[in-house]
């Protein structure tokens, strides 16, 4: 049969996109809740978001944007058959992911230290809107963090495959799909950042 059962490039990409759609809806549920509770507790959300670490938030935004660019470059590099450069760029992306997670770790430990974590006595004592805000914040950012971990792992696997030569200028669907996934992780953050760190 002429059907390319083995490498259907467009098919693989379509599949990846479909998967990304379902990821969007997954996060969409949390954004929905955010919208509803923002409408209900605008005051509390404002106060609570003032206590967020704007510095970490902005830094992490920049880091993710950079990583997104690096992985996009990695795709260009592999298309141009620059294997070594591809590896460096992927390495850069993964490095960014690690820094991002490290920052998150610092930020969260500080917040935990201040008594802000789900179901903490401090939040329970405060106005309900704030505890809802932080509840959402931890869940959304936690889920995002999980995606960063998964994305980082996927890109590591891709890097290994590039290094072994399984992924090359003639067949780079793995890299392309991995990159798509990584961009999506970046996209979510582009929304999380203003919603949680900047609502005044």
């Amino acid at each position: 049969m002429t059907q390319p059962t083995h490498k259907d490039y467009a098919g693989a990409k379509l599949g990846m996109w479909l998967f990304l759609f379902s990821e969007m809806l997954l996060f969409g549920g949390l954004f929905l809740l955010y919208g509803v509770y923002l409408a209900r507790y605008p005051q509390e959300f404002t106060t609570a978001s003032r206590h967020m670490h704007l510095f970490f938030g902005t830094l992490n935004t920049a880091i993710l944007i950079t990583s997104s660019m690096l992985v996009a470059m990695a795709l260009t590099a592999i298309q141009r058959n620059q294997r070594r450069l591809t590896l460096w760029l992927l390495g850069g992306t993964i490095f960014c992911a690690a820094v991002f997670m490290f920052n998150k770790y610092l930020e969260w430990s500080d917040e935990f230290g201040r008594g802000i974590y789900p179901n903490s006595p401090k939040l329970a004592a405060g106005p309900p809107g704030e505890s809802v805000f932080y509840g959402l914040y931890y869940l959304t950012v936690g889920l995002h963090g999980l995606h960063v971990l998964v994305g980082g792992t996927v890109l590591t696997v891709v890097a290994v495959r590039v290094w072994r030569g399984d992924v090359h200028a003639g067949d780079y669907i793995w890299l392309e799909n991995g990159a798509l996934y990584w961009h999506l992780v970046d996209l979510f953050w582009i929304f999380i950042f203003p919603l949680y760190y900047l609502v005044l």
């Binding site: 490039y9 067949d171 900047l198």
Partner: protein, 96 residues
Amino acid sequence: MSSDSHAPHIVGYGKLIAVWLGLLFFTGLTVWVSRQQTGIGHVWGSLAISVVKSGLVITFYMHMRHEGWLLRSLLFVALLTLAIFIGFTFFDVLYR
């Protein structure tokens, strides 16, 4: 490798860097806007900026620019669905 009729598009490094600069600029802008005292308008302002930013990522980094109508319209359907889910919930929340 590919049964596609059209050859893969290669996006040059220069363009990627330009988009990167744009994204950084918008990040700065959104932070700056949020520090101005403009009330609840912020939420809409910063969301609008986020939409522009994600548009950049999707168009250039995710190569949507070079995809056919199929993927574009599917993306549209997915986003529309999400918008409806969120929007319709507000029929309840806003009028309760």
